[in-house]
């Protein structure tokens, strides 16, 4: 067997870790999948034990680049849970605004990637062009495109200036028409439906067995959303609905994310127009000994933070669980038995935080490496073409 070279050259310039998934195949069918994790492990939990509560909000923000405000959101709620602190009303609204803004830009990012894996490069460019608009909104609100640094245990670090609000509202309204165009282009496209329907199915029992979270679970009919189940911040003061679909395939995960963007726009607009006046920080001084748990519905699912403090200003233990940690093992049931050309889009369907589905190596049963990430993306794009031919599109 020739010396197999670890495939570093990624097809898509995304973050890549060598040998993230390795699929064992027989001919076209995927037989087994082995997931190698840990290339991104930076020992954040140990680090935050050496930092004060205020400092570790910044450490926690650098866990995942795309959902960089979900972790501080959950962490601050965990610290507030320890002391039983109540956050002022205005801070709750600002937190909701930042959380929903990030959900839109994260879903757009994923939409672009999914389009790209299916061979629609124009969808990729459009989605990312639209995403720049949302990043401008976030920049107006928080000063940075991502890694906003808005959260602090007990409230919010910066206030939203009243004169910014009309500008932001105008920008959000300008996003909706392009979003409609993207939705039509993606959801009503017969080839794309044929391409994503019926593959990578996660049944409801499996979703419960794996305790999947977020869109991955909601696509399989498990109505589970932290914003609805245990409302926090300003989510209970806004009329929005949770989107659940039943058949758990890749198309449903696509539908959920697209429709969730509309809900986020609704929440954003509501919170921006009804921003209550008042304090933005509860001036948390001392944190009593004890333990606290904070959860938040990140774009990919529920993030979970457990904090234990012994009265000093440093946490004794700080446990972090990203949503993808629960969603990743679901590959064992969604990808086995599928064809190779669908492998990339199924892996991308749960929107893994460090989306490196192209870091894929496929071995045939004797272990010689057959395809790498690029070939799999090409396979998936070719399948789109075949379906386009059959549909006579």
């Amino acid at each position: 067997m020739p010396r197999t070279i670890v495939p570093i050259g990624p097809y898509h310039p995304l973050q890549e870790e060598p040998e993230f998934f390795s699929l064992t195949v027989e001919g076209e069918k995927v037989v087994a999948i082995d997931v190698h994790v840990g290339y991104n492990h930076r020992g954040i939990e140990k680090l935050s034990e050496a930092k004060t509560f205020d400092q570790s909000t910044f450490v926690v923000e650098r866990i995942c680049g795309i959902c960089s405000t979900s972790h501080p959101f959950a962490f601050c709620q965990a610290v507030e849970d320890v002391g039983g602190v109540e956050v002022p009303e205005r801070a709750k609204y600002i937190r909701t605004i930042i959380g929903e803004g990030e959900r839109i830009h994260s879903h757009l990012l994923w939409l672009g990637l999914a389009g790209h894996f299916l061979g629609y490069n124009t969808v990729f460019m459009w989605a990312w062009k639209l995403r720049e608009e949302i990043l401008d909104v976030m920049e107006i609100l928080s000063g940075n495109r991502n890694n906003y640094g808005m959260f602090r245990p007990g409230g919010v670090r910066r206030d939203i200036k009243p004169e910014d609000i009309p500008v932001v509202l105008k920008k959000i309204d300008s996003i909706v028409p392009t979003l409609d165009m993207l939705r039509k282009a993606v959801m009503d496209d017969p080839v794309l439906q044929a391409r994503t329907k019926g593959i990578g199915i996660l049944s409801k029992e499996e979703a419960l067995q794996y305790s999947a979270v977020g869109p991955t679970a909601r696509a399989s009919g498990v109505a589970r959303d932290v914003r609805k189940d245990s409302p926090y911040a300003a989510y209970d003061q806004v009329a929005w609905d949770m989107i659940v679909t039943q058949n758990g395939d890749v198309f449903d995960k696509l539908v959920i994310r697209v429709l969730e963007m509309y809900e986020s726009v609704k929440i954003l607009k509501h919170c921006l127009t009804r921003l209550p006046p008042g304090e933005i920080d509860a001036k948390l001084k001392i944190i009593p000994p004890g333990e606290g748990i904070g959860t938040h519905e990140a774009p990919r699912g529920e993030t979970f933070h457990y904090v234990r403090s012994d009265g000093t200003n440093r946490p004794v233990r700080h446990k972090v669980r990203a949503p993808t940690f629960m969603n990743l093992p679901t590959y064992k049931s969604t990808i086995v038995g599928e064809t190779l050309s669908d492998a990339t889009i199924i892996l991308a369907a749960i929107d893994p935080c460090y989306c490196c589905t192209e870091r894929l190596a496929v071995r045939n049963t004797q272990g010689t490496k057959l395809f790498n990430g690029e070939d799999l993306v090409r396979l998936s794009q070719e399948k789109t073409e075949r379906l386009r031919k059959d549909m006579g599109a």
Binding site: R224, I293, T295, Y306, F325
Partner: protein
């Protein structure tokens, strides 16, 4: 099933095993149970009450290693955490193992002379527990009996055996590591 029924039902079933029951707030309940009965309790919560296994948190309290299994019951908005304490062998007599004191044992043994407690694994019950138990085993050094594939999850291959980063007495073992900014 309201919140009270669930708690009453749980207390009734595991009266013998519960060591401590703290009802902290409407959404948070912490229950300490004997390490032996974790499998029964988890199965009851997961199968009968339909709770979702959220995550397990392992931590090194000075006198003992502790694992918290967090279960979420969405419909009644309750997060129930089962706490299990695994006492470290507190040999007061022999000077070597001073328990939580500053360890002078060579770094290779990591934890106080390689003490690795045992507990039943929940992975056979539900797939969700598989990865988190591998992570706790690797970072904290707790063995899970009956875990289907106990491989290394996060740490690199050249990580020395028996060194557990999340233990309190973890010390830097890599001579080549550079910790200052060199400015």
């Amino acid at each position: 099933m309201t919140r009270e029924d669930v708690l009453k039902d749980f207390k009734g079933k595991f009266a013998g095993d519960i060591l401590e029951f703290t009802d902290k707030s409407p959404q948070r309940v912490y229950v300490e149970i004997k390490p032996g009965s974790i499998k029964k309790a988890a199965l009851f919560l997961f199968k009968d009450l339909g709770a979702r296994f959220n995550i397990a948190t392992g931590l090194d309290a000075r006198r003992h290693l502790e694992i918290l299994y967090h279960f979420t019951l969405e419909d009644i908005n309750l997060l129930l955490s089962l706490r299990v304490k695994l006492p470290k062998p507190f040999k007061t007599s022999s000077p070597a193992a001073t328990g939580g004191g500053p360890m002078d044992s060579p770094p290779t043994t990591g934890g106080n002379d390689g003490f690795v407690p045992e507990i039943d694994s929940l992975a056979p019950l539900f797939e969700a527990a598989n990865w988190v138990e591998r992570e706790i085993h690797e970072l904290l050094g707790i063995n899970f009996r009956g875990h289907p594939d106990m491989r290394k999850l996060l740490l690199s291959d050249d990580w020395p055996e028996g060194v557990y980063p999340l233990r309190r007495d973890y010390k830097e073992w890599d001579p080549k590591a550079i910790r200052d900014r060199g400015v």
